[in-house]
């Protein structure tokens, strides 16, 4: 979908070239445009925004490998950055575990949780996370539907399976 169709980009904005999920992208952004809005204006709609003040985690993405709330990052600061959204981070084992544990209802928070789960597992490396620790790792993302149990259980299950398979990380 073209930027023109969305009619919400800033035509007079600053051009910012960056990588989104492996693709070279050029965004036209105003000084106050967040990375979240810039991504969505450019048609990258997988990342959702629920609060736009860094409280809910729905808009979580990896920015040069670090998880950020994309709503808090000015897009003009992202020149040459590598952004990864749920689109390239959603691993089949995480998806299968979320399905199996009923971790998805309305789904608005889910893309952000996929990013948060992947980040938690990468951060933990080879260290097995306890249930309490996984609750803390995922506490930056709000879910209003599920009560978190399915999300936490799915994340723990994926970690155990990956460690058992000898791979603490996956892409």
């Amino acid at each position: 979908m073209s930027t023109a169709d969305r009619s919400d980009a800033d035509a007079d904005g600053t051009a910012v070239a960056l990588t989104v999920d492996g693709d070279q992208v050029e965004l036209s952004v105003a000084p106050e445009t967040s990375l979240l809005r810039a991504l969505r204006d450019a048609g990258h709609l997988a990342t959702t925004g629920a609060c736009e003040q860094g409280e809910c985690g729905s808009c979580s993405v990896l920015l040069d490998g670090r998880m950020v709330c994309s709503c808090l990052v000015p897009a003009v600061t992202c020149a040459s950055a590598e952004v990864r959204t749920v689109t390239s981070l959603c691993a089949p084992d995480v998806a299968d575990a979320l399905v199996a544990h009923g971790a998805v209802q309305c789904g608005f928070c889910t893309p952000g949780f996929v990013v948060a789960i992947e980040t938690a597992l990468r951060t933990a490396g080879d260290r097995v996370l306890s249930t309490d620790e996984m609750h803390e790792h995922l506490a930056g993302n709000l879910c209003r539907c599920t009560g978190y149990a399915g999300l936490v259980t799915a994340a723990l299950e994926v970690q155990r399976a990956r460690l058992a398979a000898g791979a603490g990380r996956s892409t």
């Binding site: 919400d8 979320l98 209802q105 789904g107």
Partner: protein
């Protein structure tokens, strides 16, 4: 939680878990939510809202905003061609305020521009001159003779009396207590959003995140002054609802803008606007007296309930009805004397939220029962078990005979028997009250256990007409199920598919089944609310499938298979499902056939409380819930766990605080939705006693988790701390200072 592998049995689809049709797209981010919708050439809208809770509108000046480049037009009440006052039960709410505003955030104008950011900027440039009026913020003062009059017929939305049985005094023991619940927001994550486009026939199509396509349709048509058939409402992807999408927010504004500009128009609310725009759970005052014999046999319940309805009626009429009808809980009483009132104030509009009045009533009756248990020195669980309704009893308020699916004693006993957590508080910081803040080494931590029981009806009740349509089309591509049932995340799409599979596959064999888009073109389904949609849609789809099968020559199907039998035909099964009708209760006694069936639930909460700091860690919630027959066990677990989280929020964290009619914390920074770190271990037990009135014996499951989880947590904190705790959410101050938070109010006897 249990995960059951799909198996084939005599009952191949109902009762086993299935992968939801929407789940993969939601995980990958490809699912289209309402705010993802686009249309070529679309414009964007932004709402001008009142900063005052009560004021006369002197003048609206749009000139500066209109002069901004890219601003197309600005709509106000003068542009509404049809009804300027709408409302889905009581018409009392302006599409745009035109003479005065009655709450902070009330819509005054809708600015249409070429980008969302520009529309917001232009909305800020609209100047409105106000003349402030006296603000009515105290619901206790709303009916006073000198209270500001907010609506022509007075400030009372509805008073409901349920009075029958023996005189409500003279029992061997009487306890009394007054309780309060705060203003909870649905806080769904997907902000309000929609996209309207003009149709060639002069009508309009509105894509919207909603709970009821047809209620939106009739209100849009009324405001536009066009025939209902010219308004098409299509369900956009809904990012959670919980009652907060039953009322119109941007629907009419968008439709009007699309018709007046001749172009598609979209809007998406920001979080603060979302908090201001949709009605919330009613704050409640619940004054109770319960009389009992010394042996714990309940005799009477007296309750005076007042709900703060806010500025407009929204669903206050049925909500106070539900609060009153469930004010006696699922218990045997000889005498019932209940008066429920919902009143207008200049506070935010109150409306539907999961539990719909029964949440507040449950907190009142259950908290008072704990006072009685303490007075009689009877175990709180035993007091409830001893007085629980049994099949064949009369429901205490309506007087209806309770049918065979009334496992009240079962949910109490089974919940109480679920394993308790380790007895001593764990020392790991994650598990302590105060969490990783390391506020305690455990020296001031006390553990408490609380128990509560909840009850609510399913379906609308009180005589509201209710039906549900479905169409099932068989073609060479397989089966398509057409329904207007809205998927709000609860899994209704999976239910529709499972019911069709259950009904059709024994005759047709394996067949592709897909669920078509929900829209007003797909018949009527009513709202996804009131724990009704699974029951209603299952009834409709089941009947439509049976109609389809009756139109087929099953012998031929059996011989040649469905693909050969159908060839290039399209064969449609259609049905309208109607549950047993209800009636309004008697105006004096409240008795009558007001509800079709009930859901029962018990919760036990275990908490650790730092009695010096007032911090609370919920350690475990155990629940047994009456589900009739579990349609999709995994999805039911999801409803239960999510409902408990909201119940925990109401108990501890969640309150939209309002001062002089102004919301103080309309953001996720200050309105505290529970996080993963707040959630305890949860044990879930499903009690299955088939409901004879319902298709497949199923019951709704969405609301019960929010009923008794809150009072169970409050009871546990009282047990741990000894603080009286008359109000939820419970703040650390309430625990440390041992106060009841609010001053008692004088509640009239009559």
């Amino acid at each position: 939680m249990s995960v059951t592998a799909p198996t084939r049995s005599a009952s191949p689809s109902i009762g086993v878990d299935h992968e939801r049709p929407d789940v993969r797209a939601k995980i990958s981010g490809e699912f289209e939510f309402s705010n993802d919708a686009v249309a070529p050439g679309m414009l964007f809208g932004a709402t001008v809202r009142s900063p005052h809770p009560h004021a006369r509108i002197v003048a609206i000046d749009t000139r500066a905003a209109l002069a901004m480049e890219g601003v197309v037009t600005i709509l106000t009440a003068d542009d509404v061609p049809g009804d300027r006052i709408i409302g889905h039960i009581t018409a009392d709410q302006p599409v745009f305020a035109f003479d005065r505003v009655r709450y902070e955030g009330e819509p005054i104008a809708f600015v249409i521009a070429t980008s969302q950011r520009l529309a917001w900027r232009a909305a800020d440039a609209v100047t409105v001159e106000y003349s402030p009026l006296p603000v009515l913020t105290d619901p206790e003062a709303a009916l006073d003779p000198d209270a500001p009059l907010l609506h022509p017929d007075g400030n009372l939305v509805r008073r409901l009396v349920i009075d029958h049985g023996s005189e409500c005094h003279g029992a061997e023991v009487e306890v009394s207590g007054t309780w309060w619940t705060g203003r909870q927001d649905q806080a769904f994550l997907g902000p309000e959003s929609g996209l309207a486009r003009p149709d060639p026939d002069g009508g309009v199509t509105v894509l919207i995140a909603t709970q009821d396509l047809h209620l939106d349709q009739v209100q849009i048509a009324a405001a536009l002054g066009i025939d209902t058939s010219l308004v098409r409402v299509v369900c956009g992807g809904v990012g959670g609802a919980f009652g907060g999408r039953e009322d119109v927010t941007c629907q009419i504004h968008l439709a009007l803008a699309a018709l007046l500009t001749g172009r598609p128009v979209k809007t998406t609310f920001r979080r603060r606007e979302s908090f201001l725009a949709h009605p919330k759970r009613h704050p409640a005052r619940l004054a109770y007296r319960i009389g009992a014999d010394r042996d714990g046999t309940l005799r009477y319940v007296w309750a005076r309930i007042r709900l703060d309805g806010g500025a407009y009626a929204s669903t206050s009429m049925p909500v106070i009805g539900v609060a009153a009808y469930f004010a006696a809980g699922p218990y045997r009483f000889d005498g019932v004397d209940i008066v429920g009132e919902s009143v207008y104030t200049n506070n935010p509009v109150s409306g539907a939220m999961r539990g719909f009045g029964a949440v507040q009533a449950c907190f009142g009756i259950e908290s008072t029962l704990d006072l009685l248990a303490a007075e009689l020195d009877i175990d709180p669980v035993e007091l409830r078990r001893r007085n629980a309704l049994r099949p064949g009893d009369r429901f205490p308020t309506s007087g209806q005979i309770v049918g065979p699916s009334a496992p009240v004693i079962e949910v109490i006993e089974r919940c109480a028997a679920l394993p308790l957590p380790e007895p001593s508080p764990q020392l790991h910081p994650y598990a302590r009250p105060g969490g990783t803040g390391l506020t305690t080494l455990g020296e001031g931590v006390r553990r408490g256990v609380g128990f509560a029981v909840g009850v609510k009806h399913m379906l609308y009740g009180e005589g509201t007409p209710e039906w549900c349509d479905a169409t099932v089309r068989l073609s060479s591509g397989g089966v398509e199920v057409l329904s207007a049932a809205v998927e709000v995340g609860q899994g209704i799409t999976a239910v529709l598919e499972s019911v069709a599979r259950e009904e059709l596959e024994p005759a047709l064999g394996e067949i592709p089944i897909r669920v078509g888009p929900a829209s007003t073109a797909a018949g009527y389904a009513g709202s996804s609310s009131a724990s009704r949609q699974t029951w209603m849609s299952a009834g409709a789809v089941r009947a439509a499938c049976r109609d389809l099968l009756a139109k087929l020559d099953l012998a031929v199907v059996s011989d040649v298979g469905w693909e050969q039998a159908v060839t290039d035909q399209v064969i449609a099964g259609e049905a309208t499902y109607r549950p047993r009708a209800t009636e309004a209760g008697d105006p004096t006694t409240g008795r009558g056939d007001v509800h079709v069936a009930w859901m029962f639930v018990a919760h036990r909460a275990v908490v650790d409380v730092d009695v010096e700091l007032g911090t609370v860690k919920v350690v475990q919630i155990a629940t047994s819930q009456d589900v009739g027959r579990a349609v999709h066990p995994r999805e039911i677990h999801g409803q239960i766990l999510g409902g408990i989280a909201q119940g925990l929020g109401l108990a501890l964290n969640e309150e939209l605080r309002v001062h002089d009619g102004i919301a103080l914390n309309p953001s996720f920074t200050d309105y505290l939705v529970p996080t993963a770190a707040d959630m305890p271990e949860m044990l879930v037990d499903l009690v299955e006693v088939a409901e004879p009135e319902a298709p497949y014996g199923l019951k709704g499951v969405g609301e019960p988790p929010s009923l008794s989880s809150t009072p169970a947590i409050a009871a546990a904190i009282r047990a741990a701390s000894g603080a009286p705790l008359r109000r939820v959410p419970i703040h650390p101050d309430d625990i440390v200072t041992m106060t009841a938070t609010s001053d008692p109010v004088e509640v009239p006897e009559t």
